[in-house]
Subunit: 267 residues, 7 copies
Amino acid sequence: MFIARSEYDRGINTFSPEGRLFQVEYSLEAIKHGSTAIGVRYPGAQLLLTLSILTRLSLKQVATSEGVILGVEKRVQSTLLETSSVEKILEIDSHIGCAMSGLQADARSMIEHARVESQSHAFHYNEQLRVESCTQAICDLALRFGEGADGEESIMSRPFGVALLIAGVDEDGPQLYHAEPSGTFYRYDAKAIGSGSEGAQAELQNEYHKSLTLAEAETLVLKTLKQVMEEKLDAKNVQLASTTPGKGFRIYSDEEMAEVVGRLPSN
Amino acid sequence: MFIARSEYDRGINTFSPEGRLFQVEYSLEAIKHGSTAIGVRYPGAQLLLTLSILTRLSLKQVATSEGVILGVEKRVQSTLLETSSVEKILEIDSHIGCAMSGLQADARSMIEHARVESQSHAFHYNEQLRVESCTQAICDLALRFGEGADGEESIMSRPFGVALLIAGVDEDGPQLYHAEPSGTFYRYDAKAIGSGSEGAQAELQNEYHKSLTLAEAETLVLKTLKQVMEEKLDAKNVQLASTTPGKGFRIYSDEEMAEVVGRLPSN
Amino acid sequence: MFIARSEYDRGINTFSPEGRLFQVEYSLEAIKHGSTAIGVRYPGAQLLLTLSILTRLSLKQVATSEGVILGVEKRVQSTLLETSSVEKILEIDSHIGCAMSGLQADARSMIEHARVESQSHAFHYNEQLRVESCTQAICDLALRFGEGADGEESIMSRPFGVALLIAGVDEDGPQLYHAEPSGTFYRYDAKAIGSGSEGAQAELQNEYHKSLTLAEAETLVLKTLKQVMEEKLDAKNVQLASTTPGKGFRIYSDEEMAEVVGRLPSN
Amino acid sequence: MFIARSEYDRGINTFSPEGRLFQVEYSLEAIKHGSTAIGVRYPGAQLLLTLSILTRLSLKQVATSEGVILGVEKRVQSTLLETSSVEKILEIDSHIGCAMSGLQADARSMIEHARVESQSHAFHYNEQLRVESCTQAICDLALRFGEGADGEESIMSRPFGVALLIAGVDEDGPQLYHAEPSGTFYRYDAKAIGSGSEGAQAELQNEYHKSLTLAEAETLVLKTLKQVMEEKLDAKNVQLASTTPGKGFRIYSDEEMAEVVGRLPSN
Amino acid sequence: MFIARSEYDRGINTFSPEGRLFQVEYSLEAIKHGSTAIGVRYPGAQLLLTLSILTRLSLKQVATSEGVILGVEKRVQSTLLETSSVEKILEIDSHIGCAMSGLQADARSMIEHARVESQSHAFHYNEQLRVESCTQAICDLALRFGEGADGEESIMSRPFGVALLIAGVDEDGPQLYHAEPSGTFYRYDAKAIGSGSEGAQAELQNEYHKSLTLAEAETLVLKTLKQVMEEKLDAKNVQLASTTPGKGFRIYSDEEMAEVVGRLPSN
Amino acid sequence: MFIARSEYDRGINTFSPEGRLFQVEYSLEAIKHGSTAIGVRYPGAQLLLTLSILTRLSLKQVATSEGVILGVEKRVQSTLLETSSVEKILEIDSHIGCAMSGLQADARSMIEHARVESQSHAFHYNEQLRVESCTQAICDLALRFGEGADGEESIMSRPFGVALLIAGVDEDGPQLYHAEPSGTFYRYDAKAIGSGSEGAQAELQNEYHKSLTLAEAETLVLKTLKQVMEEKLDAKNVQLASTTPGKGFRIYSDEEMAEVVGRLPSN
Amino acid sequence: MFIARSEYDRGINTFSPEGRLFQVEYSLEAIKHGSTAIGVRYPGAQLLLTLSILTRLSLKQVATSEGVILGVEKRVQSTLLETSSVEKILEIDSHIGCAMSGLQADARSMIEHARVESQSHAFHYNEQLRVESCTQAICDLALRFGEGADGEESIMSRPFGVALLIAGVDEDGPQLYHAEPSGTFYRYDAKAIGSGSEGAQAELQNEYHKSLTLAEAETLVLKTLKQVMEEKLDAKNVQLASTTPGKGFRIYSDEEMAEVVGRLPSN
């Protein structure tokens, strides 16, 4: 019953009688209103992992055959909006980036936090922050909503209304993580978030295979986005980024976007 | 149902079961009561951007052919009110200004914050604050409502009830940003906010083209305002400002206003 | 519906679904219970402004032909009350004063704040605080209700229940500002606040003209008050003050009050 | 309607839709349950004021013909209660005292605050605190209820449930102030507070005249108290105090009380 | 109506529309559940006061003929409870003690506070704390409930649920004070608190006279307790203490208790 | 009526109209769900007390004939649970221990607090903490729930849901205290707490006599537990501890438990 | 009745009239939604305990015949999820690990706390943290929810929604603890938590015996998991870990998992 449920969801951070945290569940709804984002890891990672243990020095040369592709839909309500200012894919560090779905301002806070963590780690330990550690730093921040702002950083009084697909590369090779407002995170081969995530995830489940090439991964991301987008997909309303051992995290230029979109079957 | 919705909107900063932040949405309503404000960027920017990379020294001479025009309606309830004290367009720094719609006092707080950020940046780094950074500083402040006042500045216990059109110029040329109470911001070629924003935006969508001249941009802003204002437009109840690479941000004098208004078709 | 509205107005500083701030609106009601206060600027200011730019040294000699008159009704419930202790017009600094309507104690807090700002400015910068800056300092205080008391001064946990007419003189000549609990302020030629403000403002709108003399301004203020007061106006239950470039802010003595009241038509 | 009103009065310090502060109004009710207190200023003050400007040195010699009489009812529920411990009249400093009506413990807090202010002023400036400043210090404290306890003194979380009649003497001669929980204060020639205040004030209005002598003032206070007291007035259940330029603030001894009570007509 | 009243009593420290503080009134109910306690001052005090002014040195020799007797009922629910651990009479300092009725733990907090105040006063000023000052320190603590714990001592978030009869001796001779949760205190010749206070106070009113001897006072206290106790009074379920100028505060030994109880008429 | 009562019990620490503290009363209910615990003091203590005053040095030799026995029921839901980890009897210091009933984690907090107090006292004053002082330290902690965590220790935001039987020995001999969530404590000869406390206390009342020997006290504790336990009593699901002047506080070993349980009549 | 109960469970940490803490009970529901986790201790521990007292030096050689096996179900919603990132078994220190059921992010906080405690203990005292102390540190953190964040670590504003099975080895041999959100912990021979805990615990009760070998314990854990899992058990969706005196805490490699799963009867 609706009224009865509302007895429990007014407290920011309390359990319902069924053991649920409603504010966290509601923040997931905010993400369901967000634009769709997709991440796909294309293979070579297992191989790399083995090699990197044996021959760490030759890591970069070998690793070029694998990586992670992130793709997002940009919702453009007006032709007067400059699409380049709709940033759904953001760099965290030279080796880590992410795609977001949900509230733009919340994402900015989380990513700013991750950037500081990454710089600080590099400064203190003279090594790049591992992708899992970066994801965990973001998730620890997400868990702390509703607490007193004792620490160094401003913490939200509600859960973050944003989900992230974090793509990065470290000595374990390219990795794709999904981070939720609840502070939970898992590693995926391919994952979709946002308003079209249900259909997109089903598509990924069907199409993903362990021998995808870079070009196939790019096409898979765009084809999947195309199916769940309301607007017709073109080089302006989607954005891709790649993470590879050789080049780290890179957002595709307009020329690169045009080239990949041109490759799609035209139906 | 109205009563049911109210269960969720009493918490200042909590999600509803549908993932909505009601207080932020309600603050947008406050802006819908505000006077209309319009910003239009007239072209040359793309060209400038290219040139500035090649020949940064010649930037100012070249850039004079482009800019941003801001225009606002001044609602004058009484002839005894001095219209010059109705400040809907305000300077942030010599290269950045903004037009506001919504609660005057809230706008003053946000702009004061932006002024301090801009001065502080110039002092510390000996360079002008970029327009996007300025916009982000304002939006970060907007996001932080409802938090403990730990930081240097007083923060609101509710969302700001004001939207801003921020026009500025930096090495990327003249730019126009729209900043919302939610902390979201995007860059636009032309954007309207306030009570007449719906009609005005439709008009801009129709009339805007990439080869507008300065005079055409001024006329477009005033013509659009004229259509959505309840009072008859004259040189007293509207205000214009321009942002250009050469002269930075300038509010039009009474003489300049009279000249531009005089150019409007008289029907 | 009444009950439904009350769902939103219990939070001190939250938006209603229509984007309204009920506590601020309710504080305006407190002012509507207050005694009427009126301010009228009599001309010469435009002239002065021009002159002051050209020949700043001769400012004081020239400016004597213009100024602002403040007038208030004193509600005297009992003949045992000493009317001189009913202070509805108060000095802020030698060049700025104000008339209040609403809660006496709230006004005292605001004016004490303005006095400190004014003294502090004079001490630090060796110049008088400008009238607009003084008004803004008061309005910034008004906006900050409901916040933690971090700053130097005690801040109210509710909006101030008082409106002020601020009359002052600086290098821009005599000026009249109206400041509201919402933190909004505008400059006026003539403005009425308090329980009789509606009728009084209509009267001012009709009678005000740009060539008022000092004596005409005094008479206009008293005549307008007379129309909206329930008691019969006499030299005891009204109070006048003037602000002029030459003499700054001065509250009329009993003799001066008697003289001006004597000039009123006796019907 | 009762229920509807209660929607607004639960917030400690919020406006109702009609602009009322219910908690402050309710605190006035607490005072209406209190015992009656009366203050009467007997003339000579106007004269003194004039003289004091001309010949300040001769102030004390001249001023002896005027002053303020405070009188209170002591409610004695039991003959086992020592009436001397029912302190309704208290000294603030050698030149200022007050009569209270309402909650005893709240009065003690306010008066302790005033005592500290008075001592501190004398210590810092080597002069006695003026009566109006003392009253204002008390009223500023009253206004601050509901705020964080940042300052030096403990502040109440609700309005003070007490009204004070403050009688003091400074270079302006003897003065009588009435201070309310709202932080409002006015100067009076004669004023009654507490449960019998309505009848007593009407009586004072009728009987007060500008040529009262000390003895007449004492009699007026007691006669007025007698009319509104439920118990029969005697030298034990009333208390008087005087404030004069010569002797400052003095509470009457048992002998003096007996003498004044003896003078009353016996019906 | 019950429901309506409850609208106002949920706030810890707010006035009801009738000007009542419900939480304080409810705490008085907690005391009505408490065991009965009685205090009786036997004469000689007036005499002492006079003498002490003339011949302070001979104070102690003269003052031995007067004092205060405190008596309490000990409710013993079980014969396995050790009655000596039911402490309803406690020492504050060598010259001050008290009898309590209400919540044991609350009393312990208040008395601990009084002990610290008394020791601190003696240490700083090298003199014993006066009885009235001690009572006031307790009452100031009682008033401060609901405030932030800024000060040195832990303060309750609700009113104290305890009343005290404070008996002490200083240069004004032996004195008996009654202190309430509201922070109100008065001096009494004889006073009863707790569940049997109504009947006991009526008895005291009848039996008390100004020429009681020590033995008569002891008998009066016990006789009065006997009338209001449900259990049969014996030397185990009552406790006496005396405060005299010569010996200060002393709790009666078992032998003394047996002797006084033995003196009671046996009906 | 149930609903009406609930109006008052939602505030953590507020009085109901009848002067009750519901949260404290409800915490007692938590204890009624707890396992039963019993304490019995066997005689010799009175004698010791007398002797200890005369001949403190010979205290330990003399005192061996008396002490306190604590006994608890261990509820073992599963044979896979290790009963030794069900700690219902805990040591506070070498001379003080306690048996608990209620929430395990709350008991741990209280006992940790008592341990620190005891160690700290011994360190600062070079003497063992007295049993009453130890009990009072626990009760002061219990009273402070709902307060800000200013002090050195973390304080609960609700009452502790645990009751303790504290058995210790000091120069007054062995003593048994009962401490409640309300902060109230009393000394007992024999006391039962927990779910079976009502039946057990009645049994103790009948069987206790002042000439119990150690063996008789052990048997009395176990016989009483046996009557109120749902499971069949054996050496695994009960635990005993003794406190004696000679050996201080000791928990019985498995062998000792088996021996005492073996002595019980077998019906 | 549902509505009535909800009156009490909205306060984060308050007792209901029946003495229950609803938020803590609701957090147990969150655990019932979690994946199943099982711990089984296989014998030799009792023997070790005895030996370790006599001959501490030979501890490690002797102890190799006993230990604790932890096993968890990994719920894999998608084949695109990398199962190695579903960490339900985590290391705390080289000698302690744990299996979790409930909210992943909460578990991470608790385990991070335990890791810091363990490292800190080792650093300060140069010895490994005992298993019981480690469990107690986790439970103390769990108890402190709802308190101000004064301490060094961020504390939750609600109970932790996670249960842990803690397996460790110290000088008392291998031990298995179960820790709950309430802060309660007990030691077990075999224990199941999570959604299948009821069926699993019944199975363990039947099958557990004191002479289990390592291989038998591994098989018992997997067989029990298999019965309560919805998916078909394979080497990917379960995980085992062992704790032994010789090797401390170790998570099974993929090869080891495959070997043990292969041993299961294939029905």
